[in-house]
Every structure is written in structure tokens, then in C-alpha cells.
Subunit: 487 residues, 4 copies
């Protein structure tokens, strides 16, 4: 019934987290997969799934819900043993297709079964799908993940192995994808040639190989981080060992989503060699440099603004403080106050600590302003708690363009920065001054040199062709509506 | 968590029930579909699903569970409005694929969406599937329903309409199928040329057309029964009216599953013109004629043996009595007594009414003996309640062969009648005499003339080719196990 | 969430079922208690509870819900071992006190703990309670069960043993009560001197003593029925053996609730020596004698009208038939059709079997008519199924007076028989003729001699003083409303 | 089923949080009470309850579970309207009495109903209870809350009003109690004369009066904090206005539990005039002064060690960092890794941020060491993440004595500080140095002057008589075990 409960508005979503485990000997992998997905939960709270491969027999369980909801103890115990596990967490969508689009997807084809977990978004999914449909193919979902699977299986008709099929399929796929795939006997991980989404690998002392979207999942399962997959790399593990295919590497410029560092990833993760926590502190330091202000205290909006606030405080010399207490019990079944309640002051999620802000000039750090509504409310709370001045600093440039690579930024017409100048926004949200991180600095979050970031949503340009308007609609609107059935 | 609860052993399953609603004007069809499925619940307790078609937009909800579990009030309300609804209930399977195989299936193809509910089993599913796979097609389920959908979509590539595609597909499909299909604009029902599974239609006063596996679902939704679909008939309804395609009718001999009358269907249903209740009473009367005995009372095993017991009583002149009270609260979460408890007399499901059987010679009627274990237990209870003699009469011939047309009779090696003579069985289950209905009479349940029944499971011969052993395994065992991946 | 689901209207309720187990050696009694309560489930679907006494340590679990809902496997397993178990099922009430009033109640007093399960209703509860309250006593519930417990504990202050305290308390208690009580070391059963409610005892082969409201619960746990408790009897079991106190026996005339035989009890139970099933058949035979009619078929309203229908058929010579199929999947979460749906014919619970009633003169037997609404609906269905004439026969006299002894007959002003003659009722519900069982015959259900029945609800007079109007209100309305707090 | 799930070990519990709302006009108070309890959720995760008083009619709902589990939307909506609400959250206990001990308790007495929520523990509960039992009183729970209610009702026999009864009862009650009570017409709050537990009041713009354990709950419901109740004060609100009774004030020295400031309370609360967040930072500063060390970074154990870490960092000049990421999705249904998994490095709750600690000398701040096991594990993680030196500082003195005033510190024999010197503990948990806050400084957390704290658990002496060993056992062990029943 959770899915019927009113949810908190959230305007920024990561699409997914992926996980793969390959054990040299048969064992109970499901609990480990469970812990790995728990560590990736922040990348998707909509659905969770694990497929356990026991010598070609695929035991799958996926459902809408958080990891702990989808996998109660009995379910986990019922998954049994295996040598390969593929896991997935998925972000929140709405509507009737939620149950249908859970992952990992498991399909049957002429060579047996295949399980696949996917993070990212294709940009040529529409065209690939159309070509398949015109040959009479049927699709069960509206996801581009199914298109990827279909493309791999088609390639497998002529490719000598599943890895070769993945490689051949990558010649056709365009856009963002980090994949973890299980064939009956192999575990395969692949990252698109731009490297939009992170994907790393590690190893446990018992020889188990682990692939995961973020290194925090390696820590969670007791694996030691080895390295990130290269953009374009395919790694295959089987009882014969590990094979790395780098034939697609270097074909494209590296374009890691910079918002992974700013917001999506967990602070304890290390992505493409950079500590997420340090990158955020660096963003704060850049902000102090770009938008200095005289103030008494620096506070961050929990949880994602805290690192940048600390960075700003250290760089500016203004004292750092914890300005808010966050109610940690608010979950998905929380019943939000009505608007009329809110107007009488009912407030639960964040509560300012009056002793830290009363009578003070406050620098407030957050990672983004999407529509501005949440932000305005937070600032009102600070004012009620007695803040004398509020200077907001945002640890990213303004959002101005939609993302086609697997994140779900609010639609362009709702982005406040598309309609208003920075001064106007300051006025709307009610701050004394407002400063965003510059596009110039955002690409230096991991060091003075730009190691390759996608900044499309900040107006930095799309690295690939993007879908035409009709193609985009195809995925968002119900298929079949207004279509003649030809008779 | 229901799915983890220990279930009662059941050795005889109907595969499914299907339902279709076409309303001339848009409205809330989901509650009606809910009531229709409730009336078909006895045909499948494993999963339930409704797809609501609102002008080409398909709103689907399917899940494992009983109708009332899958559709709490909020879910039903959330389904909204539409003009076409397709519903399905599915029988109990086990294992990890349960969630994946729920119906109706909804697929996307080049002409839009299609929803389909299926009752029955193909016999050439393996070969159709193999041919599709060899062209690189992928399958999400292990059901032959997906094979049917794929075959229809392939036919649609050249067929001028969806009905024409169904008709063309029927040239390829072999076996048992009653289908209800929704295209973006039409509701289509089809019954295989043998008519293995029932399918009927009716109409509500408000003009709504209803298709259902059994007439009791028409009664439930307030529709008046019009007629059964002919074996081989395709009926299509749209805003242009109703079209009937009888081009496949008469191609095959009619072969209605006789066990629909004996056990599966509800007593208040009318199938191919015959009252199920009367057919069962007729079975009892035949038993009285074939296996007369001197006795004091005739009792039936609730619920399915009651009609035949009444028929036996009337034909023999021996008084009818209700010999058992059935605990009506025992559902799927009931925790069965352990074997050691049973041995101390713990017994819940059926309790004999001592006053009716003590000191008496009892004729006991049931519809079948599968393994004999449940039966033996029931007879022990009667003995403990003081029955002096027990003469068992079974309102069907002995099971000796597996069914390939959509019912799940226990595997041949577990069928008691495959290993033992009637005398031996009488001895094993502990009765004073035992008599089965003859093959000769079973085909006369609806009248003196055999109107066409499949009696394959009673040794009456298969009307169609049946799958080879390897083909059968393909569906029952996990795909992919022991398959080389070719590299 | 079950408790928020709309329920079927039900206008006749048994209050409760009680159960007690005493094992000579420590063991897992909870599963046995679970099976016993399952067999008593028809006596109360509102809440269920088991208290396990393990050498003075009381492990209790009670909650609203059916037995299987309150006791999932884990809960049952968590109850551990013991030598005494007390169980209870409770009928459906409404409102916020449902959770508070679950039983068995467990209380602490100066001699340790006591658990008690109660079936029935006191008539002097108000006065006993008032006297206790005036001494500053507090009550946690609004049940008379708590008053009984308090009265026993007060008696224990001077009584030499718990049995003696029960006996002393019985001098003060007036009305209906069948009790099962556990002290730290003993299991005690007691039945009020009128014997309003049934209570019987049995024994398992392993020496376990079992008390239960009905004998069907003895069958369920593998105990052999020994005898009913005498009205007024107290039986105590401990490691020293069994002691029977009959000092209150014979003080009052026996007044078994006759509606136990007609409706409440299960047909397979034997109450005070009489088979419930036979008593109902006898009611049918009396009806045939009192209200004969020319007809083609006799049918009963399932489930409680079936026995009487069989009795009528046998006595009249008119053939018996099963006229309805009842949907056995309709449970407490079923979403009832709206009135407007009903008017379009949507109908689920009962469906007539057209082949049995079409064109026929039907005798329809039910056990009661409360408000007449359900009845009228059933008769409409029969008419729609083609019944030519409908002659209704009711296997009890008309309800005309409220019950104060533990059943919940609808309030007097809603009882149709209070406002209308039999002819008018026939007209309202739409039957061709209507006949009730006479008050004269209802007391002969177990044989030609009246062995002592309460027929107060049929106008047969109250055996005891009944509560005054203010006293009755006290229990039904929220306590405290409109009360001044004295300052 | 949540209650069967394995829980995280927690060794320090607050007993409860209480809440009271009095609205001048009738309205929907349940949602406001829900938000207030949400803000107090950290004070008790075991059970939650709300009693709504609608003109003397008490609508109560209490159950085990978190606030959002106990109150789904439908439940909250079903509570209706009223003018007074009493709420409660309760800490985690174990065993079969969990359901029975939920609060607020609602009792009936000669003056009507009374609802009461209680935080704290009496020290003379055993004797009060015994005296009541010896007069034949019965108790439904093992809580001292029921003893308080009984004592008030007894006092009401002679007191002219409910407030007077509370006042008279306070002459008998000894120990810790913050109470919120609803009579049919009044809302009453009372704090024991020592002021062990906090209790404050505020007012909403619409005139509603709010009592709460902590000021954060006032913020949550939109009320402005007015003041803390004085130790010994009774405040009563009714339609006649507010009356404050200070007759018990000053009878005893003030003894606020200092652990409220150190750990229990939320950082944004203000208790008896002191900001909890500032008090914790002050504790950190005292630690820096008492136990200075050369180091590179100061980190706190989330969440309760963070404030003190910041205080230490500021006082010492050593940089502050966020050293851990806490997985915020770990709730009560989380399945803990087994010990063998832990040994292979599986770790979920806290993950060190390597970039902040690798190669560094770390000062680690936590609020307490109970058994030392969790602590040792955390330190291992830091070592694995590369910390060069670890200097642990604890923002409280060592636990050495049990608490009898409403907190649940682990039993004395399991407290590591009871068996080991500080040096030994440092060795056991694996740190390079260890320092506790001194008893001298802990009483200066809110300023240089000791405003009155209970430090009994740190060896500071008990302000009251404490229960004898037998009396303590009485509450902890099952009542009735080993008790003779006197016959």
C-alpha cells in the first residue's frame, strides 16, 4: 500500500544503482547482494531486485519498495544459493507501469537466460526499438533497458560469446549505460564509452568479484576497491577468470555526470579516483572564493549541503555550525501536513537550531535550487528562528537544460533558473544574497584539471545527439493512445 | 508474505479464468471486473490481474494473491475509468517465476499496446517459441501465453486488422486456449477449435458486453447469459459493433474438458448448454446404477462431492445427509497440523457429523482420488465417528494420464490409479467397496448423446499431438540450466 | 487495515467462544489452542487471543482479527511452552474500544496472575461495577468480563483457594457466563446456574483436559468428548487432579439459549446431549408439519438453512435441492457492491442455480429474518432465476425482544417482526407464503420434552431480572460523556 | 511482524515522550498530535498512542510500532474531532507484555474516564501497588503508570477536583514522572518535584495550549515555546482557562537527568532554558580542556557525537571533519549481518570517509561507552580506513550505576566501566588514548553554575530512596512465577 501513500515532492532523481557479485564457489549470495543494495539505496527508492544465478537456474525477486521492504528475512532466505548475483535499485516513477519496470530484467533467449541491471538512459532507444518492432518484436516494458537486452540478444545470433555480443551491441547503443549482466555462466559489467554513470569493481578476501555503481557498496559487502571501469570497458568474469575488453575505450571523450559528485553519490564513495566528500568541500571553497560575504556562521542544508558548508567555512574562516536538526524517522509513509497546516507553522522535516542562528548573519549552503519552493520554506524557518541575514550559496551552477543521460531533473519549464535571474531568485526565495558555483569551477571539483564531465544540465552542451521531441514523448506518454489500429 | 506460508497440498488445478468487459461509454469498469474475477476465483487462487483500457491508455495491475488481496479498495479506486477491461485469475504454481507469470500480459508492439488473458495450454508452444528465439526474439516469461501474443503480433505484420491477426495466429496455435484480448480500440474473445476450455458471453442492460470463462461471472456482474462461444469462434467488439468470425469452427471435433463439469466449474455455471450442478447429479445417478450397494445414508465430500451425492441418493432411494462440517475459515495462511499432531487426532478442515454416520452403512461420494492420502484421512475420520461400513463412489473414472490442455493433474507416477487396481485402492484408503464412474457414462453427463468431451486424463486418448518429453521439460525446468553458452 | 474495511452487514452475533487446555506435562500448547480456536471461529471473528501459562509465567497474545491473522506462524512459535492455555474468540463490535476489549484478559492481583476467557453477559454488571468504582477502583475496559475478574479477586481476599473464590463470586454474578480461568497453577471452568451458554469438556489420549464452548473444538484438538458442564458447575484441574464443585447446580432452572441450536453452533457440535445438525433437521420437520405447502423443491439458504431444509424435505416428501452456490472466497476485506451497482444486478455472495429453481414452486428455508433486507434480496435473486412460487419457512419464531445473555440481536426497533404481521412481512420480502416455527415447537428441538431453553428473544420471557434502561446505556455509550467532573 | 524482526542491539533507552493538546474549539487534533509525536519519536520507538477526547468521549488508538506504523492515514482520519488530545511514544521493551503496556492508558472510574501519558519511573511503585493489591485491586499491566492512575483515582474519592486529586497523589508518589492527563473536561500536566524528566508548554496562534516532553515537539506543531514546567508544578487547562498549582515546587532539589542533555534529547530542543546543541558543544570544549591531544582531525560518531566533536574542534583548534557516512535507510526491519559476515568485513551502518582519516591522527568523540562492543567495531573501521592514531573522547563520565528514574541503562554487570579502568577500556576498544568527561564538568553543561542535575548513573548518588532488590525484580520478572496460590 506504500505506493498509494502521498510522497514528499522530490525534484531530482538518480535513475538507478547496479550491483554484481561473482563467487568462485557456490554460496548464499543473496544476503551480500542485500547489503550491497542497501548501500546503494540512495540511488533509487522505488524498487529493488536481486537475481541469483545458480548454475544457470535464475532465481529472481524484484518488487516496488525499499530494499528492506522487498526483501524480508524469509524472502532472502528463500533465494537459496548460487555463484552469481545481479542487483538493482530503481528511482521513483509514478503510474501503473511501476511494477512492470522493476529490474534486474530476466529474459529467455535461444542461448538460455540472461539477467541485466542497467543505470543510465539511451538517447537512440526510440530508433532501436522502432526497428525491432517493425520486425514484429514485442516489448513488455517501456524501458530502454529492454531495448539494450534485445539488442544484445540480436547481436548474440552472430557473436561467438556473450561478451562479444555485448561489444557488438555497444556499437549500436548511444547514451548513458552502466550494465551488470549475468549469462548462465558469466558475470559481465560494461560502462558506456562516455562514462556518464559510475561503475567500479572490487574483490573480497574470499575471491569474490564485485561490481557496483559506487564504492560504498564495495565497503558494505567487505570488498576492497580495485578500480573504476574505464569508459567503454567490458569486464567478464567466469570460472576461467577475468577478461577485460577495452576496444570501445577512448572512442569518446569522458563525460562523467558532475552531479554525481555534487549530489547523487554518497560522500564516502570514491568515483573515478575522487572522494565525493572532498569534491563537495572543494565546491564550498570555490563558492567562498566566488561569492564571499561577511557573516557569523556557515550552515548547510542536511544532508547534501553539509560538506560544501564545511568547505566554505574553512575557506572563508567563518565558523561552521549545524544549523538544523533533521527528523530521521520521516519515511515514505509519512503523512505530509496540508498547506493550511503549514501556514500555522506545522513543520517536521527540518527544524532550525535557534541557538546557532538567532541574531546572526548566516551563510546557507545547498546543492541546488530546482523550483525554489522547498528552498523558500527552509529560509522562512531560518527567519522565524531569528537569523538576521541569510546569504545563500549553491554548490552547483543553475539548472537550465534537461538531462537525457539517466537523471530526472524537473521539466525545463518548472526550473526556476530558466525564468528568473539570480537576483530575482534571491528575491523569490527571500535571501539577502545568492550565489551559484560557476560552470568554470564545477569542472574542477576533483582537481585543477578538468578530467571530463558532462555539464549539459547547466548549459554545458550535450555530448551526444539527443532524442527528438516525438521520440522523447514516446517514452513518457502512454503508448497506444491516439494510435489508429489500422483497420 | 502469504507466498511463504505453507500451503495445503492440492493435486488438481484448473489453470485460469478469463474475463472481458466492453462498455459502450467510458466508466469505472474496475469494480465490475473485480466482481467478475471474484466469481471466477475458484479457477485460480495464485494471482489476479485487471487491465483497464482507457482510449488506448492501458492501466494494469496484476499480482500474486487472491482477488481481494491484489485489489484492496485503494487500488481499485486508483484504476480510474475506461471502456474495456480484461481480467484474469491464475492457478497456484511454485517458485521464483510466480510474480513474472501473472496475467493479463500487456505488451507493446508496432501497432500500440495489447492486453491478453489466456486459459489453457498450447501443445506446440515449444516449437513456436523455438522458431521465434532462433530469430533473436526474447521472452520474459516461460508461459505459452507469451508465445500466443508473439504469434499474434507477428501475424499482425501482414494482417489488415487485429481480428485478422488472431485468426491467422490460430492457424499456427495448437492445443487449448480461451482468449480475451484488448487492442487499443477493440475487445476480442477467441476459443480454440476443440473448445477444450469454456468461454461464454452475455450482455448487461446498459449495453455492456461481457466475456467470461463461466456463466457465474456473468451473473456476478449483472449480465444476462447469451451464449457460449463456438469452438473456433472469434468475437470482436468495438464502437462499430460486434463481429463474429466462425471460419475456424468445425475444423476440429469438439473436445470440452469433462473435468470442467465434474470438478472445476462452479455448480451454478452453465457450460455449453449444460448445468454443472445437474451434470454432477447425473454422475451420481450413473454411479448408483453402475455400483449399487445396500446402505443407510449417502454423503458427499464437501464441496464438490455434494451434488453427486444428492444424485446418487435420489437414484438409489438411500437417504441423503450432510455428513461433514467444513471449516470455512481455513484459508491460505492456515498453519497445517504436523504429522505427529495429526496422529493424535488433530483435525480441522472436515469434521464428520457423528449423529449422521454413527452405526450406519455410508455411501461416500467424491469427485476424484488423486494420490489417495487425503481420501484415506477422510475415511479414517468417518470410521472414528462410528461409520459401520463405507462404500466409496467416485464421480469420475480413474486418472491415468497427464493433461496437456491446461489442467495440472498430479504427475503420472504419483497417481494412485496408475499403480493399483480398484480393489487395491479400496484397501489402501480403507473402504468396504469402491466404484468409479465408467468412461462410457462420463461422456453422457449432459445427456444421452456424447456432445464432445476430452477424456484424455481418463485414458480416453489425446485429441491432438502432444509435446515430446524434451519439450515438456523445457517449460517445467529452469531454462538455462545445463545449457552451454556456446563460447 | 482490515478493521477499516467496510464489512458486510450482519445482524446477529454470538458473543464469544472459550477454550481451556490443561496438560499433565509441559509442552507446546499454543498450536493446539490455535486449532481449537479455529474450530470456534464461527462464534467470534472480531478478535482472538491465547494465554499460555508456563509455571506461573503468563505469555499472552491477543489482537483484533481472525485466528489466522492474529497468529501467524512466527507468533505461534514465539509463544513457547507451558502446561495451561486459555483461548478466546470474540464477536465483531465497532469503535475505538475494539483493541482494548480483546480476551482472554490477564490481570495481576495479590496472589499473582490470572487469565480469564468469558462467553455471555451479566445482567447485574452495572451494579457490581458501580459498587467497585465507588471504592475508587479503576476499570480498563467496558466489559463485564473485567467485572467478573474483579469480583473473583475480591472474593479471593477471604476465600481459601481460587475455586472457592470463583464459587463465592458466583453468588454475586447474575446472568450468562461460561468461564475458563487460569490461576498460576490451575485451570478452572465454570458455567452459570442457568446454563445459558454451552460449555463442555473432553480429554486427549495423552491426558490433556480440554474445555470448550462447543464439542467441535474437542474434535479439532483430538480430544474425546466427555460431558457438558452442568449449569452451575465449577471444574478445577491441577497437578492434584480434577475437582468438581456442583454446589450451585440446580439453584436455577436450566435455560440454554435455543438459538445456539438454531443458528450459532456448528452443525457437528453436540450441546447438552443434542446434535445441532439433528436439532435443525427437526426444526425443518416441525415447519413441514406447521406450515405445509404444495411445492416442487425445498432449498435452504446456505449455510445455516441447509439442515432445516433437509428436514423439511424429508418430512414433506418434497425433493431437496441445493438451490444456491455461495462464493466461498468472500471474506472480511471484500468490497461490497454499491447500492447503484446492486440495482444493475451485481451480485456475488449467493447465486441461485437456475436449473434447480426455474419454473418451480420453491420452499425456501432460513433460520431467521432480522431486518428483512437480506432476505428480500435473496428472494429477488430466486425470482430472477425463474422460481414460480416462493414459500418461505423460518426455522425459529420471530424475534421480538432484545437478548441480555450474550447475543447481539439487532435493536428492537429494527426487528421487522416488531412492526409487522407475518402477512405484512411476506409482502415486504416478496414471498407467496411465510411461516415461522412456533414457540411451542422450538423448545422441542432436542426431543419431545422441553429440557430447558431460554426463548426470551422470541417473547418467551426473561429468566432473570434485566438491566434497567440507564444501566444498559452505561455499557453502550461512551462513558464520561455529559458527566460533570465535580469541580 | 515487525516485532519479530531481529533488532539492533541498543543499550541505552529513554523511557518515553509525552504530549498534550488543548484546543479552545473542537477540531481535528489527531494530525497535530501525530506531528508532535513524530518530533518525539527519538524518545521511544516501541509503541505510540493518541487519545482524543471529544466532549468526554475518549477515542483511543495505541499500538506497538513507530508513529507512522501505528497511524496510517485511514487511522488518523478515523479518529475524528475533539478538544483535548494526549499522546505518547514508548521505548523498546521485549516480551509478551509489549502490547499490554502501550500508552496513553485509558481508565474508567466513578467520575468517568481518564487518559494518562507518563514519562519516568516511580521508586515506590512496588509499595503503592502492594497496598492497593492487598485491598483486592487488580492490575492489567506491570507499569508504574497504572499505579499512578490508581493513586490519583483513589485520591479523587475525597479530592474536590481532578487537579486536587493529582496534587494529593503527588504526596504519595516518589521518583520521576512527567504526566499529561485528560479528564472528561480538562487537560492537566504535572512534573515531579525533582524535575527528573523535562516537560514544557507552548501555545499556538489559534490559542491551543501544548505540553510536550521537549520543545522540538512545540516547533513541530506550530506552537511557540512559553516555558518549562517547574519541578513539582501542576498546570490545568479547561474552558475556564489555565490554573497553575506550585504547591509542590521547591520541596525537593532540582535533579534534571543530565543524560537528557548529553544524549536523549534532540539537539534543537531547549530544556530548562538550555540549548541541547550548545550543551553538547560545551561538553566537547570541556573534553578538549580535560584531555588535550595532538591530532590532525576531530570527528564525531553520528549522530549524537557530532555536536561535541564540533565543540572539541573549536576549543582545541584541530580541524573538524565529517568522518563517517551513516546509512539513513537502516530501520527496524533491517536484517543484521551475522557475526561470520561481519568478520569478512560486511558493514553497513557507518562507513568511514577514507579521505578524511587516512594517515591522520584522529580525535573521535562519542557520547558514551556502554558495553564497548559497538565502540570497538567503529574503531576497527577507522583503522581499516587508515587512521594513524585514534584518541577517543567521551562526552560523559563513565556509567557505573543503574538508573531508577526512567532510563534503561544496561545492567550494571554489563557496563564495561564497572569492571575496567579507563586504561583497560582503551586497550579493549583499541584506541591510543581515552578520556571521559569529568563529573565536575558534566554539571556545568548549561553554564558555570550547577543548576541541578541527577548524575546517579555516573556515581553521583541517588537523590531518592531506591527500590530494594526484591522490589526491582517484581517489575522485571514475570509476576506469578514461583508464587504459591495459597491453597
Amino acid at each position: 500500500m506504500n505506493d498509494l501513500t502521498q510522497r514528499q515532492p522530490r525534484h531530482l532523481h538518480e535513475e538507478c544503482g547496479v550491483l554484481g557479485l561473482y563467487a568462485p564457489t557456490r554460496g548464499e549470495l543473496a544476503p551480500l547482494a542485500y547489503y550491497g543494495l542497501y548501500a546503494l539505496q540512495h540511488r533509487g527508492q522505488e524498487s529493488a531486485g536481486i537475481v541469483l544465478n545458480d548454475d544457470g537456474c535464475f532465481n529472481a525477486w524484484c518488487d516496488v519498495g525499499l530494499v528492506n521492504e522487498v526483501f524480508p528475512r524469509e524472502r532472502l532466505e528463500a533465494m537459496g544459493q548460487g555463484t552469481i548475483a545481479v542487483g538493482h535499485v530503481r528511482y521513483a516513477t509514478t503510474g501503473s507501469d511501476r511494477k512492470r519496470n522493476v529490474q534486474p530484467i530476466v529474459i529467455n533467449h535461444f542461448k538460455g537466460r540472461m539477467a541485466m541491471a542497467h543505470n543510465g538512459n539511451l538517447t537512440n532507444s526510440f530508433r532501436l526499438r522502432q526497428a525491432l518492432e517493425e520486425r514484429g518484436s514485442i516489448f513488455h516494458t517501456t524501458t530502454d533497458s529492454e531495448v539494450i537486452a534485445y539488442t544484445i540478444v540480436q547481436a548474440r545470433l552472430t557473436a561467438p560469446s556473450i561478451e562479444a555480443a555485448v561489444s557488438a551491441a555497444m556499437d549500436k547503443l548511444e547514451g548513458a549505460y552502466s550494465l551488470v549482466i549475468s549469462s548462465p555462466t558469466k558475470l559481465i559489467a560494461a560502462r558506456d564509452p562516455y562514462g556518464f554513470r559510475p561503475l567500479c569493481m572490487g574483490r573480497r578476501a574470499d575471491g569474490m568479484v564485485v561490481f557496483a555503481s559506487e564504492s560504498c557498496a564495495l565497503d558494505a559487502v567487505g570488498a576492497v576497491f580495485e578500480r573504476d571501469l574505464l569508459p567503454g570497458e567490458i569486464v567478464s568474469v567466469s570460472h576461467r577468470g577475468m577478461v577485460c575488453d577495452t576496444s570501445h575505450c577512448g572512442q569518446r571523450p569522458k563525460k562523467l555526470c558532475v552531479f554525481e559528485l555534487i549530489y547523487f553519490a554518497r560522500p564516502d564513495s570514491v568515483i573515478d579516483g575522487a572522494s565525493v566528500s572532498l569534491a563537495r568541500q572543494r565546491a564550498g571553497a570555490f563558492l567562498a572564493q566566488e561569492h564571499p560575504v561577511e557573516a557569523d556562521v556557515v550552515i548547510g542544508v542536511p544532508d547534501s549541503g553539509l560538506d560544501a558548508a564545511l568547505g566554505y567555512a574553512k575557506a572563508s574562516g567563518i565558523p561552521y555550525a549545524m544549523g538544523f536538526t533533521k527528523n530521521k524517522y520521516i519515511g515514505r509513509t509519512f503523512i505530509s501536513p496540508t498547506q493550511s497546516m503549514r501556514e500555522t507553522g506545522v513543520n517536521l522535516k527540518l527544524n532550525p537550531i535557534r541557538a546557532e542562528v538567532e541574531g546572526k548573519r548566516v551563510v546557507l549552503i545547498d546543492d541546488s535550487i530546482v523550483r525554489g519552493t522547498t528552498c523558500r520554506r527552509t529560509i522562512q524557518l531560518l527567519r522565524q528562528a531569528g537569523a538576521r541575514e541569510i546569504h545563500m550559496r549553491v554548490s552547483a551552477p543553475p539548472f537550465v537544460a534537461p538531462c537525457f543521460y539517466g537523471t530526472d531533473i524537473d521539466s525545463a519549464d518548472k526550473l526556476i533558473a530558466n525564468h528568473h535571474t539570480t537576483e530575482e531568485i534571491a528575491d523569490i526565495i527571500g535571501v539577502d544574497s545568492l550565489g551559484y558555483l560557476s560552470l568554470e569551477h564545477v569542472v574542477q571539483l576533483t582537481g585543477p584539471e578538468n578530467t571530463g564531465f558532462c555539464t549539459a544540465c547547466f548549459g554545458g552542451g550535450y555530448p551526444t545527439e539527443i532524442p527528438g521531441p516525438g521520440e522523447k514523448d514516446r517514452f513518457e506518454q502512454p503508448i497506444g493512445r491516439n494510435k489508429s489500429d489500422g483497420e
